[in-house]
Symmetry: C2
Subunit: 362 residues, 2 copies
DNA sequence: CTGTGAATTGACAGCGCTGTCATATTTGTT
DNA sequence: AACAAATATGACAGCGCTGTCAATTCACAG
């Protein structure tokens, strides 16, 4: 068989050629036997499989990618792995994309556009065949690279004003607005807002909150309280404690997510504050524990698994039809789930409309 | 410059050659300018950087890996992404390995040895330079592949009886045993055990629990209750509800992790059961919310970030010193944190029996 | 002006695999 | 029996980059 493969025990790295030699066939036949078994005769297939097993051959993916100009990889960009939201979303992506024969390359950008840019460069360098990204705000260079790559790009979780490709999202600003109105409609006026780090999605929800408050002549920004930490149950407790300490416990608390909400609720119990009588609490995302918390936690249910599933399916479709540049926004919406933690305050005084511009400040 | 690069607008994929042509230098110089800028004169570097930017060049990593026989990638295997434990662990790995110039390829095996085998094959195919794996039980083929690969291998989270390479862990059986003794020492006798899916680590802790119970002539297995689901707060609530329904609420409950514990605690509140008076509850892992729960949750603190950090640092060291085959077990231990949820039942009778030595510390 | 060594730059040959097309080999058809 | 069609296998080139080593340039001492 052609040029004898050299290296004696070079690297313990068995190559296709060596397998071919062992099976007394050509390299290309081994390649075929592995990728398209039905194209090779039973006899050779057995010989080849035997040699593969015996030698412990593992194909070199770099070589394969280079030769075939196909990476079978899809780039996934998330801000952090340390958040159930994205775990669920990733899970959904896995579920659709792996069975379809794609490999996922997951990178976290740690909430930084600069890291995102680096990650995009890396992923494109790997010649990923598509890219699914959380978020819509990128550096100019990131946008340029993505546009030039001519691969399917999906931006998720936020509505894009200028989508690069497909955009599958929920309207975070509107969700923040609606959730706030939900509280306002139930008679709450002094409404606080709790958040952890001020990432894009948090800021959009906050903007919605502020807008709703402003419309009633209330100052939202003033009542927002944050610490630059991942939003955890412990942080919720801490923020609540801090509110209490400063005697700024509001009538209702809109938390950036259910973790903060649950933490706040637990701290309330500790402080002897009743939920919802003393403080109503509204979360976001409707995480698994919201419904079973005690009192059960009102929340804004989002469909992040569907976000993932839909993003993945769309990518698959675009990859098949080779129509990468579809620009379109799909809004998956959300749903406010009223539970015990936000029972109505006053006997429905929502028609009082104009509202009192009473500032929430003590 | 040499052989004119062909393709007109072939794939919008700019190659090194094209950059080289644009900058009027040789390809190898461009390669150097990008990888070792200090080896190239100021003048050329500027020209090259300009061309790179202008053309939007992104290096083809497959080609680079093939040519250099270095992947700069490290394979990471976890059973699931949907568990904070592993998120924290991954975070730690990222923190050490990325700054060192390595790329992480994270694969989840979904708690299946078969999937793990496939994943190992994939990762070795990518010629990862090291492998960090959660768990110690693998298929024979997986073990063989890992042994043959001659790369640093680290198994984590469980003590390996036959480590492939390095083993960084805590003794899960011992932890389960000690935690159970902790409850027994506080006077609890009817102790239940709650778990979700029966993964390796859960089973080891359960084994420790059963052993401790058996030593006192109590039947542990009988009191274990599980459902094959990821262990979540909601599942904890569900299991607790089910226990209550069947009138099998024990004196104390050892939960496989803090999620189940918190869920159980919340359900207790709902059912009007007092913690710890009616049921004591002990969790595992000391997740972020344990200390701030109300009542605060006793738990067995594990050091999964350190697991990650240590694993990553060791890999780095092995990669540098090229001493891949070190076989060794490092036991990081654990610590039982007694909080409100397991106040002593009887007036301190723990010294009654000198008890079982061995704190978790190595 | 020449020699020396350091600093730059380039030529060349693959890395291990797959796409393409050519070459057997077998089977079926008239 | 002769040929077409289908099937199975192989030869070859090259994917885009980097390791190696040679060639060139330059500064400076002798």
């Amino acid at each position: 068989m052609k040029k004898t493969r050299s290296k004696p025990a070079d690297r313990a790295r068995v190559t296709l050629d060596e397998v071919a030699a062992a099976a007394r066939v050509s390299a290309i036949t081994v390649s075929r036997a592995l990728r398209h078994p039905q194209m090779v005769s039973e006899e050779l297939r057995r010989r080849i499989d035997g040699a593969v097993l015996r030698l412990g051959y593992v194909p070199n993916i770099a070589a394969s990618r280079l030769a075939s100009a196909r990476s079978h990889a899809i780039g996934i960009l998330v801000p952090t792995l340390y958040n159930v939201i994205f775990s669920e979303y990733l899970q959904a992506l896995h579920e659709v994309l792996l069975p379809a024969g794609y490999q996922l390359v997951v990178v976290n950008s740690r909430y930084s556009q600069e890291e995102e840019e680096k990650a995009v460069r890396t992923l494109l360098g790997q010649r990923v065949e598509a890219m699914i990204i959380v978020g819509v705000n990128h550096t100019p260079l990131t946008r340029r690279m993505l546009n030039r790559a001519r691969i399917p790009v999906v931006e998720t979780f936020q509505i894009a004003h200028q989508p690069i490709g497909l955009n599958i999202a929920l309207d975070q600003v509107q969700a923040g607005y609606d959730a706030t109105c939900f509280l306002l409609d139930r008679g709450y006026r002094r409404i606080g807002f709790l958040l952890g780090q001020r990432d894009e999605r948090a800021l959009e929800r906050l903007a919605g909150f502020s807008k709703a408050m402003a419309e009633r002549g209330l100052d939202g920004e003033q009542l927002a309280m944050s610490l630059p930490c991942p939003s955890t149950i412990a942080l919720g407790a801490q923020l609540m404690a801090s509110l209490h300490e400063r005697k700024r416990v509001p009538e209702a608390l809109f938390c950036i997510d259910d973790n903060l909400a649950l933490g706040a609720m637990q701290e309330c119990r500790r402080l002897g504050l009743k939920v919802p009588e003393d403080v109503a609490i509204l979360g976001f995302h409707d995480l698994e524990f919201a419904a079973c918390a005690s009192p059960s936690l009102s929340s804004v249910a989002t469909r992040r698994q569907e976000l993932g599933t839909l993003a993945a399916r769309s990518v698959l479709e675009m990859l098949e039809t080779r129509a990468p540049l579809r620009r379109k926004t799909v809004n998956l919406g959300y749903e406010i789930r009223a539970r015990e933690s936000t029972a109505s305050r006053a006997p429905e005084r929502r028609q009082a409309k104009g509202g009192h511009p009473r500032r929430g400040e003590p």
